[in-house]
């Protein structure tokens, strides 16, 4: 684990980010991208990388020691991957927010890490600007749904003919409004655009997305648990 003292701005209200990835090259790249994004747009809250971890153990120690605001978490790592970090850190530090970052877009990876407790999922091809934006968003308490994740969730909650009746309608069904919001997310709309499209406030969009995230994490729908257990990540 490396502690970056130069970036440690405890007093300042920047967003303190901890980076977990087993590829050092990738960590360096993300750090550079985040810094560049910060200098390009001074109005956004500064995103500061306060530490990095190259393995599950390093990550657990580092997060416990540094108490970052947001952890950028790689899904695939030796010794259990991102889900293992979530499992070990979450009980002790429920206030730390996790944003998963991966090259994979297999449904089982995405759903598994969301169900393990991550508040969002972005692919590694995301630009620095968008990544900084996603970090701010999860830090503010909103989930980050990429179009792909929205597609997976829609598919998981789709009603199929001959399906067993739902166990808990509260968790196992999406409301029509949540479905609308997810469809627009999958079509590549930003929250602001969704709000304008559906004539609702951005706050309401965020509420819908948060409720979808909660259902994705807690529902017992077969598709969700199958995806999550396929890779034994959860």
């Amino acid at each position: 684990m490396r502690v970056d003292t130069s970036g440690d701005m405890r007093g300042n209200r920047g967003i303190r980010v901890f980076l977990v990835d087993d590829h050092a090259l990738f960590r360096t790249g993300v750090k550079a991208e985040l810094t560049r994004a910060g200098t390009a747009d001074p109005s956004a809250p500064p995103v500061v990388v306060v530490g990095e971890g190259g393995s599950v153990d390093e990550a657990v120690t580092g997060i416990g020691h540094l108490c970052p605001d947001v952890v950028l978490l790689d899904v695939h790592m030796p010794d259990g991957g991102g889900a293992e970090v979530l499992r070990r850190v979450r009980p002790e530090r429920p206030d730390v927010v996790f944003l998963a970052l991966s090259v994979s877009d297999a449904a089982e990876d995405v759903i598994a890490v969301i169900r393990a407790g991550a508040r969002g999922y972005v692919t590694k091809t995301i630009s620095g600007r968008e990544l900084a934006d996603a970090v701010c968003r999860v830090h503010a308490g909103d989930p980050v749904f990429s179009p792909r994740l929205a597609g997976f969730v829609l598919d998981a909650f789709a009603q199929r003919p001959g399906e067993a009746p739902v166990g808990d309608p509260e968790l196992d069904l999406l409301t029509p409004r949540e479905r609308d919001v997810l469809r627009l997310l999958a079509r590549g709309y930003a929250y602001k655009e969704i709000a304008a499209e559906l004539f609702i406030s951005i706050k309401t969009v965020e509420t819908h997305v948060s409720s979808v995230l909660r259902k994705t994490q807690l529902s017992n729908r077969y598709e969700l648990s199958r995806w999550a257990s396929d890779r034994r990540l959860v």
Binding site: S104, D105, A106, A107, P147, R148, A150, G151, F152, L154, D155, A158, R160, P161, G162, E163, A164, R183, A186, R187, G188, N220, Y222, E223, S225, S229, V234
Partner: protein, 433 residues
């Protein structure tokens, strides 16, 4: 991206129980903890109960006409052994207790038999002796297998004689017990005719040989299974290597040759990424091999694949990145091919005119109809000012969709990006997958 659920899931509509997060440890015999063969301690770990309970239950069952003995023998034969144990090692007290229980179990079984219960009598006689002999031989075979693991000796040489003179003596003693048990049993049958005696003797000899060679047969079967697994692994590895060679290495070579053209490098990298992704995660891809390939998932999941392929072609031609999200899937029946072609035309338009690096494509298959949305955040345009000689939108998209009973909605304005919304009703009887 395509999400394919196996048809079996929907056909039955049964929601299986959620698989446990971490299952109990698999049932294995525990050699490190063993007193006879490690069956009890293996079961105890599998069920998460104290080993003493398991042993007591076996002893109690042994009293019931030897049922416990038979159960133990079957588990011994069919549960594979392991050297590793997550449990704490057993203490000397545990072992003393266990040996006591074994003696008690044997006593109970004999007592039950001696009291003359109708179905337990066989234990007191010569067959009981044969049983003890078989037990000795099996235990020795277990031990010799461990030695073989350590030394890596061959199957047959390490069979029974892996552990020196004492082991050999024990095996011979076991064989002697079995043989004499069977012999005495035969002689006791008394007043049999010559022919019947000969037949019975032959049958008994066969049974004796079968009992003695049980460990060997089981091991042979396991060795065969192991070999098959190894062969499958090798084939898998060869397939992966071939694929990586054909695709990834070739692309890397091309990228090195063309490293001065950023556009070309990006195009190659995107194309290779797409190909590798569909191979890993796609419906017919490597990762889905087990489910999708066997049930010939091609016909039922053709729409998503075709749309992905169309997006891929546009991506290759115009070096823009296509974000394709498909929810649901279905067969590519009329009028869906026209929908895919119209979508492709919309993607080409976005790639050519929007002046932007990324285009979102979203398709949703519903029971009644199929929607496709092609959206970019690029330049946008004013539909009223499009020159009359530009046919892309009018003919290729609107005309095509209307011929097939579909609709086109266009949302655009200069500087606002463009979204083309395509919808078409599915024919009746379309099969949802």
């Amino acid at each position: 991206m395509t999400i394919v659920s196996t048809p079996a899931d929907q056909a039955t509509g049964i929601r299986p129980p959620i698989p446990p997060v971490t299952g109990p440890p698999r049932l294995r015999r525990h050699r490190p903890d063993r007193v006879i063969a490690g069956v009890s301690s293996g079961i105890a770990e599998h069920l998460g109960v104290p080993v003493l309970w398991v042993r007591v239950i076996f002893v109690a069952l042994a009293g019931l006409g030897g049922a416990g003995l038979i159960g133990y023998a079957l588990l011994w034969g069919f549960v594979p052994a392991t050297e590793a144990s997550a449990r704490r090692p057993s203490t000397a007290r545990d072992r003393q207790q266990a040996v006591g229980l074994v003696v008690l179990g044997a006593g109970l079984a004999l007592a039950g038999a001696a009291l003359g219960t109708a179905w337990g009598g066989w234990l007191t006689g010569p067959l009981g002796v044969a049983l003890v002999g078989a037990g000795v031989v099996w235990r020795e075979a277990d031990a010799s297998q461990r030695t073989r693991w350590r030394s890596g000796a061959g199957v047959v040489s390490g069979m029974f004689f892996g552990a020196g003179k004492m082991a050999l003596l024990r095996v011979l003693a076991g064989i002697a017990l079995v043989t004499s048990g069977i012999a005495v049993f035969l002689l006791n049958q008394g007043n049999l005719g010559q022919w019947r005696f000969a037949l019975l003797a032959a049958a008994a000899t066969l049974v004796g040989v079968a009992v003695l060679t049980v460990p060997w047969w089981l091991r042979l079967m396991r060795a065969l299974g192991e070999e098959r697994r190894a062969r499958i692994r090798t084939e898998e590895r060869a397939e992966i290597a071939a694929h990586l060679h054909d695709s990834v290495l070739q692309t890397l070579a091309l990228i090195q040759q063309q490293s001065d053209s950023a556009r070309e490098v990006r195009r190659l990298a995107r194309g290779q990424e797409r190909e590798l992704r569909s191979w890993l995660y796609g419906p017919q891809g490597y990762g889905r091999a087990a489910q999708a390939r066997t049930n010939g998932g091609t016909a039922a999941s053709a729409f998503a694949a075709t749309l992905h392929a169309a997006a891929g072609e546009v991506e290759d031609t115009y070096a823009v990145s296509m974000q394709v999200v498909v929810v649901g899937d279905c067969a590519l029946e009329e009028p869906l091919p026209a929908l895919v072609q119209a979508s492709r035309e919309a993607m080409v338009n976005a790639a050519k005119h929007a002046g932007i690096a990324e285009v979102s494509v979203y398709a949703e298959i519903e029971p009644g109809q199929v929607h496709v949305f092609v959206r970019d955040r690029g330049a946008g345009f004013d539909p009223a000012t499009v020159a009359a000689d530009r046919h892309g939108l009018a003919d290729s998209i609107r005309g095509r969709m209307e011929r097939h009973g579909g609709t086109v909605t266009l949302r655009t304005a200069p500087g606002e990006g463009t979204e083309v919304q395509l919808a078409v009703a599915r024919r009746k009887g379309g099969e949802e997958t």
